[in-house]
Structure formats: structure tokens, C-alpha cells
Symmetry: D2
Subunit: 256 residues, 4 copies
């Protein structure tokens, strides 16, 4: 019996607000297997949340709560010195709000992923990472959290005994130690579609990536993050999907 290679594709969805659109939700829902749906704090209004949850449920795309700082104008991209209690309550609130739309669509929220500055802070700061995890434990400890491998969030999840799902980025450069090259450094982003697609396949098949110094580094990730905020991004995401399926990789949500 052969075990078939399998990976999840996740992307941010539902990041419009009221009259404003961002990204192409419908196109992404035909590409990804997991949808990180914005929950109203950094983006995402209730009508959009309901529509995206219904469409995701219909296509069998897993719904995750993309939780962020309460900062619409800054799109959750500005770090905030928020206490653990405040952050935990904010995460519970967002998770619950989205879950109601998931339930209305006949499914449930399957995981949590921090957004923007909270994503970055949760990778470094044990207090904020711990608050996100504590919120999940308070609501439903069976929900895993999706994030950067080997981060403060990874450790907080392990300590609390909840699941952690590592993600990789086919369009980001990696160092020889398997870390992301910071965005402000040259070559941090891989733009060639063929190269990105090939890296996606390498992640999925062989759990490796070619680092900036040419060495091959092991990176284990159960999910690949793709983007959809520009038409070029959607094309790239589709190329990644096509390369993976062409290489015999099964695309499926990591969440049951």
C-alpha cells in the first residue's frame, strides 16, 4: 500500500469591509483547501463572513478563524501592546462570531490563524502567543492553531496541549537554518511562478526547500500559504495548485 503525499493550501479570505473589497474570494475558494476567514477586527464584516463561510462550506473548504488586532484602519498590521487577558478575550470573540457563520453554513470553524502583526508577534512573544492559545483552550481545545513553525506560538500550543499546524511559504526565501528571509532583505520574495510552483512541490513531496545559499533545508509543513490580494497572486496560487496536483500531491484540509 502506497501512502499518497498530501498537503493543505491556505489563504486569507473575506478581507473586505462594508463597501470595500480586497482580494478575490471566489477565485481563491477554487484553489485552496483551507480558508482563513477574517473575523471583523482587522477586516471582515458580518455579511462578507456569512457569504464566505457559505461558499467555503459548499466547496468543502475548511474554515479557519483569521483573528487579528482590533485595528480596521491599520488592517491589523500594527503591533499593539495588548494584555494577555484583552487579547484572549478578543480572540474568543472573533472565533465565536465566525463559528456562528460556520454553523449557519452547516459546518464549524476548524482552526485558528493569527493575522498580520499578531501573526508576527505570536511568533516571537510568549505572552501574546499564550493568550491566543488560552483563548482556543477556553472555547474548544480540539481546534489547532496554524502558524510559523518553531515559533513562540508553536511552543505555547505544545505547552497547552493543543494542536499546532506548521505552514510554509512557496514564494518566500528561506535561510540555511530554515527561517524566512525577512521581507526587507533583497530576494526575500520569490516571484517567478515556475520557481514558486517547484518549491511548493518540494515542500509537499520531500519536505525541503532550497535556501538562499543554495543548500537544501528540511521544512516540515502541513499547509502552504498562498495569497490572493492581486490578480497576479491568484494566478500564482493557481500555478501552485496545478503543480501540486500535477505532481500527484493530494490537496486536502489538514483539519478533519
Amino acid at each position: 500500500v502506497q501512502h499518497r503525499t498530501r498537503i493543505d493550501l491556505n489563504a486569507d479570505l473575506g478581507e473586505g469591509f462594508g463597501p470595500w473589497q480586497l482580494g478575490d474570494d471566489d477565485a481563491l475558494l477554487q484553489i485552496v483547501t483551507s480558508a482563513n476567514v477574517a473575523c471583523g477586527f482587522h477586516a471582515g464584516d458580518p455579511v462578507t463572513m456569512r457569504r464566505v463561510c457559505a461558499a467555503a462550506a459548499e466547496r468543502g473548504v475548511a474554515i479557519g478563524a483569521q483573528v487579528g488586532y482590533r485595528d480596521l484602519v491599520g488592517f491589523g498590521r500594527r503591533r499593539m501592546d495588548i494584555s494577555a487577558d484583552e487579547l484572549a478575550a478578543d480572540v474568543i470573540y472573533q472565533l465565536g462570531a465566525l463559528d456562528a457563520f460556520a454553523r449557519a453554513a452547516g459546518t464549524r470553524v476548524r482552526y485558528v490563524k493569527p493575522h498580520g502583526a499578531l501573526y508576527n508577534t505570536a511568533a516571537d512573544d510568549p505572552v501574546q502567543a499564550g493568550a491566543i492559545v488560552a483563548a482556543i483552550v477556553a472555547v474548544d481545545g480540539r481546534l489547532p492553531v496554524l502558524g510559523l513553525p518553531d515559533s513562540a506560538l508553536t511552543r505555547a500550543a505544545a505547552e497547552a496541549g493543543i494542536g499546532f499546524v506548521a505552514e510554509a511559504f512557496a514564494d518566500r526565501a528561506y535561510t540555511a537554518t530554515g527561517r524566512l528571509v525577512p521581507r526587507d532583505q533583497p530576494g526575500a520574495v520569490v516571484t517567478d511562478a515556475a520557481a514558486v510552483a517547484a518549491r511548493a512541490v518540494a515542500f509537499a513531496h520531500d519536505h525541503v526547500v532550497t535556501a538562499v545559499d543554495g543548500t537544501t533545508v528540511a521544512v516540515t509543513a502541513a499547509s502552504l500559504c498562498v495569497h490572493g490580494d492581486t490578480s497576479g497572486a491568484v494566478e500564482l496560487a493557481r500555478a501552485v495548485r496545478d503543480a501540486l496536483t500535477g505532481a500527484g500531491v493530494q490537496l486536502a484540509p489538514f483539519a478533519p
Copy 2:
């Protein structure tokens, strides 16, 4: 076998926001059997919602979602011409957010009550009443809605087949046809504590109230609404509770 008279006492709780307090949540939790907890749109921040849900759960007070218009500065007291789809999504969002705190406290949201201008609009406007009910049906059709008897909301609930719980106001004057005397008319509010307490007992025991013209009117209500936004209001609520228990009325949530 004697059937013991029983009624529910409900009040608005958790109506602070961030640094700002409103009403005395702790005092009210020792008086009421059902807490209409604000869900963040007209009042209620996540930290407050979490605290109130935990305290209510600990005391066995039923948690209801007090849903309102998205209008913090106006405290949800200003009617908005919002579409049925927008309102339904807003209600689902608020209901889900509060339910996550209820779950974190080991319980669930047991009912929904519209707040302020939405309460008044839902009593008259079938479109907005229908949107509230549709939201409940979408999330969990077993949840009843608490509101004004014989109103558009009553009818919307009946049409959708969800429960409707009628409430009465011991401190409000009633017309001979059993309607509330509008607040802008003289004598609309009963301020004498003994009178209010006596009216509460009349509602609970005999399902009647003495109208402004002196006649006795039948009013069937499974819950009495009390207030807690001033210290005087809390005293009045306590007087109502004491009078009811003194008269042998059992106080218990209407929700199972």
C-alpha cells in the same frame, strides 16, 4: 399537587465598553435569573463579556444575547434603515461572539433579546423582526427570542416556528388594551417602589396589571424586565425580587 407560580427576571448586563462602566453588573447578577448580555455592537467589550458570562454561569443565571445596532456612540438607541440581510448577519455575529464566552464559561447562550432602537423597531417592523428571527434560525432554532408581546417580533417568531418569550415591565404604565404607555406621555413610568413591587407580584401571580384608567388588564409574561443603570434602579430591582419571593413566586430562568 400544587403548581408553584414561577417567573423570570431579566436585565441588561455588560453594557460597559473599555474604560467605561454602565450599571452594576455584580448587583444585578444577584437579582435576576436571566442576563441580557451586550455583544459589542451597541456596548460590551470582549473582556466584559467574558467576565459577565463567567459570573452569570457561576450563579446559574441564564445568558441571553442582547443584540443591537452597530452604533456604540449612540448606544444602539437610534433606528437604522438596515437591510434584512445586513441585520441578520449582524445578529448572527453578535450571537456567535457571546456564545463563545458562554461556552468558555461552561454554558451556552439560551435566548436572544434585541436592544434599544432595535427592540422598538422589531416590535413594529416585520422586516427587521424577521431578520432577527432568521438569524436565530440560521444558528440554532431552539433559541427563543425575548421581547414585547403581541408585536411584529412575536409574529415573526411564530411564522418561523421558534419560541417567543413575552416580557412585562413592572415599572411601566399600561393602557386598557394592555400596551405600554409611550415614554413621552405623563405617568408612563411608575416610580414608587412599593407600587412597582406590587405590580410585579400581580404579573406573576395573576397575569394582570392595573391600567392607567384603573381597569385590570390581562398581561401574560414569562419574564419581567428590571433595570440596573442607576443605584436607584438596582434598589427597585431588588424590591421587585424580594416582593416576588415574599409572595411565594419562584424565580427561575425561562430558558431550560
Copy 3:
């Protein structure tokens, strides 16, 4: 001495918010002579307001305060039952905020125009119309208000002794009595670019429009409103501008 025909072209600008864009501000600034700049309540964040004011000032485009209901998610398109005191304070706030950006750009706010549901309400409701006018009087009674001719706002401005500037819509159908055909009626919007341009010239030159019944109706307007929320809208606005200048009409702000 020949008096040259002259008209103003106004459009809504700065209606993005944070990460979200709406309309093409740069394209519109090359077309219009007056910019209705969103002030943060229905749209418009401070960074955008600053950028648009600077660009408008550089091009000699007059800056007007596009004031709206405090309803970001609804884009100010939902009528609110707001008191005169609340609305007046909201208008003063928005007007002052925008004026600071105008001053930073070396100019000042030159006029006020209500947005969305407030525009419509101010056309019918003397209370809300009066509140807008009272706000202008409180800050600077020399500022005119731009709106629908022969409306509640027209009358409120007249009563308060402030200027009223009437606008017309080259892409909207008019009744034989010179009123706009409501949007929900067939033929309410004129879509043919040549027809719209011809109507613009008729407004500017002859102060008339051809009504839906074919009759010619007098409409006196010092400004024509154009739109820029789609690329087609920008093209149409440019066609209107070209037709007007081609017909020898001078385009200039109505405000000094």
C-alpha cells in the same frame, strides 16, 4: 463684453479606508473642479484625507467636506434617526477634521456636501437638514452647502442665511417637474456617454434638461456631479468634461 458660460464639476473623493480603495482619486482630480472629500465617518482615513487634500490643493481643485453618518460598514448609506444635536456635532467634527488637512495643504474647506443617506434625508427632513446648516453656521457661516435644488436643505440654508449651491446630474433622468427619477424606476440612469455629455452641455449652456416625457425642463445648477467609483464612471466623467470644454464652457469651482 461677452459673459462666458461657466460651471463646476464635483465628485466624491477619498472614499477609501485604511487598506481599502474605492474609486480613482488621481483620475478624478484631473477632471473635477470641486472634490467632495470623505471625512472619516462613512469613509476616509486620515492618511487618505491628507493625500487627497494635498493633491487637490496642488491642482486648484476646491475642497469640500463630504459629511456622512458614522457608519463605516454601511458606507453612510443607511438612514439613521439621529437627533439634531448629535448630527450637528458630527458635522462640525468632520468639517473641522478635513479643514485641518486643507490648512496643512495651504488652503481651506470651501463647502459642505452631505453624503449617501444623509444627502437623501437632508433633502426631505427639515430637522436633519437644519442640523447640517446649524453646524456650518457654528463653524463658518460663509461656507455654502452643496445639494439637491428645491429641497429641505435648500430651505434650511435660506432660513439660516448661508449659501446653497444646487447640483444637477447629467447621468440621471429628470421628471417633467424637474425632479430626479427615483433610482428604482426604469430609465432612472442615463448610460450612453454621448447622451450624458450632451445633457451636461445643456445644463451648463441653457440651464435645461430633456425630461423623461420629452419635454424640456429648466434646471439651474451651479455644479454637475460626476462619479468615479468604476473605470467606466471615470471615462464618463472625462467625456462630460471634454464635452463641456469643447462647447466653450469654463470649468471652475463655484467656491471662491
Copy 4:
């Protein structure tokens, strides 16, 4: 000719929001000579801003713009990593909004004071301090900024050539080098009313304070900050005022 000793008393005012009150604005307006009025980002709704500006103008109390982070639920007490451009635009927006109410009350905003976490950040961080100062320069470079002496904000003001007004705290302990003892250290706050009043007089008369080690430290401040968020705080502020006037100190706004 004798030069009479003179100092300003400032306090935060208008920090309610919508239905919520905070502090006793009316009591404080009878005590202070400068009112730091909240501008809507961390607190302060338009109706409150209008009322406070009118009352301050009537009493001859100078109006200052108390600018903060856009964080209502956190009351501006949480540091945000906001870019200089964003912060400058936020300050211009708040300053302009308040100035409109000041103009409506027949006066103008006379100074700017950062609030909460922005106050603390502006004392340490040259980028955010510079952004506040740049905003003032953009709107009206004659406006001084009120803040912590010998801070990043002091230096930013000096570099930009705008006025800086130093404030002292009669109820806070000082180190032997003239810095505030951090709030999380024991003895950071002086609670004895007589001691606070005596310290206020020492600041005003002799420009000194007794440090925690008993030494006398020179502190030059043109304004003393008092608080009004509790009834005890108002009493303390009144004691400070009475002690100062009893000692022959003239109380007057620092702003012309």
C-alpha cells in the same frame, strides 16, 4: 516691580463616549486653567467635545487637543507601532476636529497634549514624538505641545522650532535626577492631600520638588497636571488649586 508667581493647572476632560461618562468635567472646569479635551480617538464623542469646549470657553479655560491612538476600547493606553505618516495624519485629524468645536465656542485650540500610551511613547520614541510635532507644524506651528520635560517630545519640538511646555505632577514621586518614579514602584504616587498641595506650591514658587531620597531637585514646569477621574481626584485637584491661590500663586493658562 514685583513679578507675581504664576502657573497653569491642566487636566484631561471630555473623556466620556456616547452613553458613558468618565470623570467630572464640570467640577474640573472650575479648577483648571487648561483643559486637555479628548478628540474622539481614545475617548470623546462630538456632542461631548462641543459641550466641553463651550463650557471651557465660557470660563476662560484654555482648550488643548488631547490626541491619542485610535483605540477606544483600550482608551489609548496600549502602545501601537504606528508609522510616522499615519500618526501625523491622526494628530492632524484630531486637532482639526477639536478646533472646529473651539471655533464654534468663539475660541481656538491653544495647544496639543498626547494621551496615555502616546504620551509615554512620545517621551521615549523620536519617531512618534517627531510625528506629533510634524502634525502641529503642518496645521499651525504657533501651537505649543505639552508634555514630559527633557523627553523625546521636548527635543522634537525644539528641532522643529515649536513651543514645548513642561508639566509636573504634584501627586507623583520624583527621583533625585528629576524623573518620575515609575508607577509600578512603591511610593510612586503621593496620596496625602496636604503633601500633594505642598508639592504643588513648591513647584510653582520654587521650581523644586523633594525627591524620594529626600534631596531637593529642581523641576521647571509651566503647568501642573491634575486628575479628575474619581471624586477623590477632584477633591485633590481642588486642594491643589486652593493651596496655590492661598500661597499667592496666580493660576492662568500658559497659552496666550
